[in-house]
Amino acid sequence: MSQALAPRRESEFGYTQRLRGWLGNHWGKPRFLVLVTWSYIVWSIVPVLVAIQFSFNDSRSLSSWHGFTLKWYTSTNPNIDSVFHSAELRGALEQSMKLAGLDVLIATPIGVLLALGLARWRGRGSGASNFLMLFPLVTPEIVAGVSLLLLFSQLLTFVPFGTVAQLLGHVTFSISYVVVIVRGRLFSIGPSYEEAAADLGAAPATRLTRVLLPLLLPAIVASAAIVFAISIDDFVISQWLSNGANSTTVPMEIYDATRATPQPSTDGIATVIMVITLLSVVAGVLVYRFFTRGESGRGSAIDDVAGFGI
């Protein structure tokens, strides 16, 4: 009896109603949300994938596919500006890596020390300084770039434009990321480990080296990875503080090349830089996860900040 009734009941609904039911069934899967999410992912990733694809195109065309080649990366033919052999592209890659590497080496230790200091500092000014620490994260980069340009051209004229000025600029905004990540970790580990170490007879310096730094290590590694990634990606500040000739970074090179004569090797260097960024961030997150495995599932700072930083 009930079997006979079932199909008749289904036909009571029209197609539109059934589609609505499929998308927004209160008791079913949230299909509408899934649809929106995947639409966004496709929208944001497909153009990048297309750009990557054409860096392997066996033609100068960036619109029609002529078969696979690696020549835009590895060719030594002087007529082809390959990523690894063209003086400009290679120079840009080296400049970017140099800036990012030095940035990590300088900004990470300073950021860690600042985070430790800010976490300890109680009293007048501590709230304001904690808030102002976020300022470089929200200042428009163009503003930060112009202000540094004015600073180095009017006031601190002994700072030469090019690598030194660019590095100072990168370090300036990188420190904030380190502070935010490390401070988050400091708050999540709380004061009890340090107290336990003190209770067991550890002097303040020993507490720092034996307990605090090992516990902060994942956050330090993660913030170093993120600093590397954002430094590699940076365009605005590098552009403002360059001296034109030999301080061109990859993003600057891509910008110039695309405006002049876009060719597959531009896509190629973009691909290289993207892979490096991705690897450094993935490595950072993996290292963080590795070191914090087995800890109870409290929300880790990296999960919040990784999304913010990249």
Partner: protein
């Protein structure tokens, strides 16, 4: 290991404008299992943290074997602490956790190995040296925390609600183990808890604290049988607190009147007069058939019978308007009373106690610490079964 004697003199701790500890005095003789018991916010943990050295007293002294330690930093005090969340170093394995203090003390390698081995044996964790804290159960972590503190042979061991995170059954087992351990090592244990049962089970003496002050100090039995304040009576176990008017003493007994009824109370502040509070434990209230005559009896009606397994909690509405509860042991016989039956509540004079103060109401901010049933207050009809934490 020799136990240390701890004395706290006029200890005050203020956080900005808030007084957390309000001038307390405590003596803890060497080798004693001493508990500080009270609801959260009563100052017990702050006191413990001052003894450990994590907080600096606003004023007062902390004497360890007669020497004032108030200005000694924590890493130079001969006391060790077991933290509420254990605070085991997650990046170190069990061996390195326990060896941490010995290494800071620059002991030779062989001695460290031997003493860590002994400590592990003491807490029955031999063979777990290579484990990381994250790979252990809560109970095991708790033992590692104990071993890490005890391996340094402190004069005093401080314990900040160390069983708080464990489930009820494990907690019971560890209570007994902790007490045995304390007797074995013979050092002073200062134990902080909000769990009155835990304090009663393990302690040699208990200080009941409220709002930064010590309400009463004494052995468990003394506190349970002879509470002096309303707070202590209410906080420890289940109490029937009743408001009464004291009419004066005769033959060592205080005549009190509740409405038109008169009772004699033989304990507590029997010489008081005027408005006062009297208390009787539920297990001391005897229910008799309606119409039984004699002194210290008030007629009433059974309002509710709650089956507890090992007994029945019977809530009786007394004729003068207050409610009390009686605890009747489960002897296997069928209970003689049902809801609505008229009964006579017999409260023997030797079980009735006149309390000194009528003031300090128990703090209500911590539901865990609050005694579950307050029979003197009207029980709402839709309230669920009252649970008894005795």
């Amino acid at each position: 290991m020799a136990g240390g004697e701890v004395e706290v003199v006029d200890l005050v701790k203020m956080f900005n404008e808030v007084t957390a500890v309000d001038g307390i005095n405590l003596q803890m003789p060497a080798g004693e299992f001493f508990s500080m018991l009270g609801p959260s916010g009563c100052g017990k943990t702050t006191t413990l943290r001052m003894i450990a050295g994590f907080e600096q007293p606003t004023s007062g002294q902390i004497l360890l074997d007669g020497r004032n330690m108030a200005f000694t930093p924590p890493h130079k005090r001969n006391v060790n602490m077991v933290f509420q969340n254990y605070a085991l170093f997650p990046h170190l394995n069990v061996f390195d956790n326990i060896a941490f203090g010995l290494r800071r003390d620059k002991r030779p390698k062989a001695e460290i190995r031997r003493r860590v081995g002994e400590a592990l044996e003491l807490v029955q964790l031999t063979g777990m040296e290579k484990r990381k804290p994250g790979q252990m159960s809560g109970g095991q972590q708790q033992r590692v925390a104990l071993a890490r503190a005890l391996v340094l042979q402190p004069a005093v061991l401080l314990l900040d609600e160390p069983l708080g995170a464990l489930d009820a059954k494990l907690r019971k087992t560890l209570q007994i183990e902790l007490k045995e351990l304390q007797q074995q090592v013979g050092i002073t244990f200062i134990y902080v808890t909000h769990d009155q049962e835990e304090a009663l089970t393990m302690s040699d003496r208990i200080a009941v604290m409220s709002a930064g002050r010590v309400e009463q100090v004494g052995p468990p039995q003394h506190l349970y049988e002879e509470p002096t304040t309303t707070f202590v009576a209410d906080f420890l176990g289940v109490s029937n607190l009743m408001t009464a008017t004291a009419r004066g003493e005769s033959n060592g007994r205080c005549k009190v009147s509740l409405g038109e009824f008169a009772l004699y109370a033989a304990n507590g502040d029997v010489s008081t007069t005027g408005e006062t509070r009297i208390v009787i434990r539920p297990e001391r209230v005897r229910l008799e058939a309606h119409g039984t005559s004699g002194e210290n009896r008030i007629p009433g009606m059974v309002e509710r019978v709650v089956y507890l397994g090992n007994g029945n909690q019977i809530i009786v509405g007394l004729a003068h308007g207050e409610r009390i509860q009686a605890l009747v042991q489960n002897t296997g016989d069928e209970l003689a009373y049902r809801q609505g039956d008229p009964v006579q509540a017999y409260m023997p004079a030797e079980a009735l106690r006149v309390l000194t103060d009528t003031g300090t109401a128990p703090l209500e901010d911590d539901p865990r610490a609050r005694p579950a049933v307050r029979p003197v207050e009207p029980i709402a009809e839709e309230a669920s079964t009252p649970n008894v934490n005795v």
